[in-house]
């Protein structure tokens, strides 16, 4: 047994996990055997981490535990059989979409496969939307490097792609005795990490900046580079610009395996046939280890860490300008503690929590987690009450046991690139990750052919009017050109029929109620669609030429209606 493996075995023994057997495979460590609980499974994975291996593969079985279910699109067919692309990207989250868009800078045939009915359906729409300043990532990690770079790149991305970025800054408050002790250290760390523009604040300065901040604070720091975005809008923006520049986005299309020849991938098997691929990018989020396994390159395991977030009514949005957090001692740093952050739409988000879960696509919320959120974060802003919550949701982070991003060409499959383990701050890092992954793909292709820039690449996304962003004069002009902008459908968010129609006919068309929501925000306000759902339904049916009863909330099978009334039999007179 090697020294490293011994270390792992000893740690496992310390945990009393006697039925877990570690072994080495390539440059990684593989755990096998059986345990009784999911907690033990997780503990074993962490016991093997940090021992100098490339990755931890946790293949331990948990007695009586159901394997994580995975959603696969129900449709089967051959619609994509024989299609041939230079690069196929698996996963339409923010990473996959940003990679697709960066690849269209080159004269390449690019396709993105997403098994869900829309892009940004999984983690990329289920997060806080924060562009972190980088202070929380540990020194020397990929997370840190990509976060700092990604944060700086967001300004340009927002301009080119026309999504909203608000550099609201964050106030990290320090509780009681921590202040005196921690501040010099925090400053030193921030400097060393390259965090931009830290400003120390006294208790009174915090209070002046954020008058509603908790009275527990004893001063803190201000990080001006922190920003917020609507993460689904960022993802959609990347996808749309990719399509405008020639990429193909195939929704409801799952990668189910690879066709390999002499260790290279030659095609991706999907529920719509075999797609030929020159290079493949694995950006499959919580399922990235499964994709790696298809190529016999399974050197890491992903486990899910669920986070629940509550949305606070816009009416309270003005009570706080920046992100507010009060880190507590003795809390595992990877949870980052969470806090309260503004959104670009003017709400506040509270959370997230962090709980290891065995089901990777379980986005359900529980009363316990809501209560935890209330007890933990509500008091950060003294104006908030539990009843100010308009809704809540959960996302699942795709974590490796080493807790860092893996962004690299495969060591064993020459035309496969991994962009995996992209947990928080993955959104903040996306522009930088995409830049590197696209460059890696181009390098791979260059080994077999010439790769030229795309002469018609336009980094600027075509924008349709967003009424909320227009002055009254511009709004009036827009309505005169297209009266559909004059008709408000979603009253809480003041979204017009015209904006909904635009979303339905956008480069990555919205064909479901939720897809309309993600693009146009209709139905996302206080009444949560109570008033506008019937109207959006009619518009969707009319614009897509379908019957109302065929319109889905999201995935196939999520029909909003059971049918029509007056089916009491017989013919109509």
């Amino acid at each position: 047994m090697t020294e490293k493996l011994n270390l792992v075995a000893r740690e496992l023994a310390k945990l009393g996990l006697t039925a877990v057997y570690p072994r080495e495979w390539r440059r990684s460590v593989v755990l096998e055997g059986e345990v009784d609980t999911w907690q033990q499974y997780i503990a074993a994975g962490y016991a093997a981490a940090g021992k100098g291996y490339k990755g931890v593969v946790n293949a331990i079985k948990v007695r009586g535990l159901e394997q994580s279910r995975e959603y696969l699109p129900p449709a089967q067919g051959g619609a994509l059989e024989g299609k041939d692309y230079d690069v196929v990207i698996i996963g339409g989250g923010v990473i996959g979409c940003a990679v697709a868009r960066d690849l269209t800078r080159w004269d390449l045939r690019v396709a993105l496969l997403e098994k869900e009915d829309d892009v940004a359906k999984q983690t990329s729409s289920r997060n806080n939307g924060m562009i972190h300043p980088g202070i929380a990532a540990s020194s020397g990690s990929k997370k840190l490097a990509y976060n700092i770079r990604g944060n700086r790149m967001y300004t340009q991305a927002a301009e080119e792609l026309g999504f909203e970025l608000v550099r609201c800054g964050s106030v990290v408050m320090l509780g009681k005795s921590m202040y005196q002790l921690a501040l010099p250290y925090v400053r030193y760390k921030a400097l060393q990490k390259g965090v931009d523009g830290l400003i120390p604040l006294s208790r009174r300065q915090v209070a002046r900046r954020e008058p509603n901040a908790t009275s527990l604070q004893r001063g803190g720091i201000f990080l001006p580079s922190t920003g917020v975005v609507a993460p689904y809008k960022v993802t959609v923006a990347y996808a749309e610009n990719a399509v405008e520049n020639g990429a193909a986005v195939h929704l409801n299309t799952a990668a189910l395996g690879f066709a390999m020849e002499q260790g290279r991938i030659i095609g991706v098997r999907t529920n719509q046939g075999l797609i030929r691929a020159g290079a493949v990018v694995n950006a499959a989020g919580v399922w990235a280890d499964k994709i790696a396994a298809y190529a016999d390159d399974h050197f890491f395991t992903i486990h899910g860490r669920k986070g629940t977030i509550a949305i606070i009514d816009k009416a309270l949005g003005a009570t706080q300008k920046s992100v507010l957090a009060l880190p507590r001692l003795g809390v595992k740093s990877y949870t980052k503690g969470g806090g309260l952050n503004p959104t670009v739409e003017g709400n506040l988000l509270m959370g997230p929590t962090a709980i290891e879960v065995s089901q990777r696509e379980d986005w359900s919320t529980t009363p316990e987690e809501m209560e935890f959120l209330f007890s933990r974060h509500l008091s950060l802003n003294r104006q908030l009450r539990p009843r100010d919550t308009i809704t809540y949701f959960a996302g699942v982070r795709a974590c490796t046991f080493e807790e860092d991003f893996i962004i690299e060409p495969s060591e064993h499959v020459p035309n496969l690139i991994h962009a995996v383990g992209i947990q928080s701050p993955g959104l903040a890092s996306a522009p930088a990750i995409a830049q590197d992954v696209a460059a890696m793909a181009v390098e791979i292709l260059k080994t077999t052919r010439e790769v030229k820039p795309n002469p018609t690449f336009n980094p600027e996304r075509r924008l349709t009017p967003q009424l909320a962003k227009l002055s009254l004069e511009e709004r009036g002009e827009a309505i005169k050109k297209n009266p559909a902008y004059g008709q408000i459908v979603c009253r809480c968010e003041a979204i017009s029929a015209g904006e909904i129609i635009d979303a339905i006919h956008s480069p990555v068309p919205a064909t479901s109620l939720d897809a309309v929501k993600r693009r146009a925000r209709a139905g996302m306000g206080r009444c949560q669609g109570g008033f506008c759902t019937p109207a959006i339904l009619e518009i969707l049916a009319r614009e897509t030429g379908k019957a109302a009863s065929e319109i889905n909330k999201g995935r196939p099978g999520s029909q909003l209606l059971a049918g029509e009334t007056k089916t009491g039999g017989g013919t109509r007179t």
């Binding site: 009334t565 007056k566 089916t567 009491g568 039999g569 017989g570 013919t571 109509r572 007179t573």
Partner: protein, 136 residues
């Protein structure tokens, strides 16, 4: 024999006690005469007003709200719904206009309760509250 009923003639919801002795029926607990007749009818043959909608031939007004002009036996309600589901209104009706003279073997008419001349898309910003004149 005694029976407890809640009067549904108005939102007051009087709690009625109906005593059935020999030939006579006596009702107590009602605050108005409608309660007494309701209780008596309820014992013999419960009757209800039926409200529902009828399909129309107009895209701007696809469904017309209707109600029975008077009550029909509760037991006929589903039969009436079946008959109503086969109707299509082809004229623009207004509240009170008769949709069907005799609904489902009763003598009760089915009447329109909304104004189809106020189509969904009528003149905005004008004093016109709807297109007048019944189209066909």
């Amino acid at each position: 024999m005694e029976k407890m009923l809640v009067c549904i003639q108005c939102p007051q919801g009087c709690k009625l006690t109906v005593s059935h002795s020999g030939e006579g029926v006596s009702v107590t607990g009602n605050k108005c005469p409608r309660g007494a007749s309701y209780a008596q009818q309820e014992l013999i043959n419960p009757c209800r007003t039926l409200t529902t909608t009828v399909r129309t031939a107009f895209v701007d007004f696809p469904l017309l709200p209707v109600r029975t002009l008077g009550e029909i036996p509760l037991k006929s309600v589903f039969g009436a719904m079946g008959e109503i589901s086969r109707l299509v209104v082809k004229k623009r009706l207004r509240p009170g206009d008769v949709v069907l003279e005799k609904l489902y073997n009763t003598d009760v008419a089915l009447i329109a309760t909304d104004d189809m001349t106020m189509g969904e898309k009528y003149a905005k910003g004008s004093e016109d509250y709807g297109r007048d004149g019944i189209l066909s």
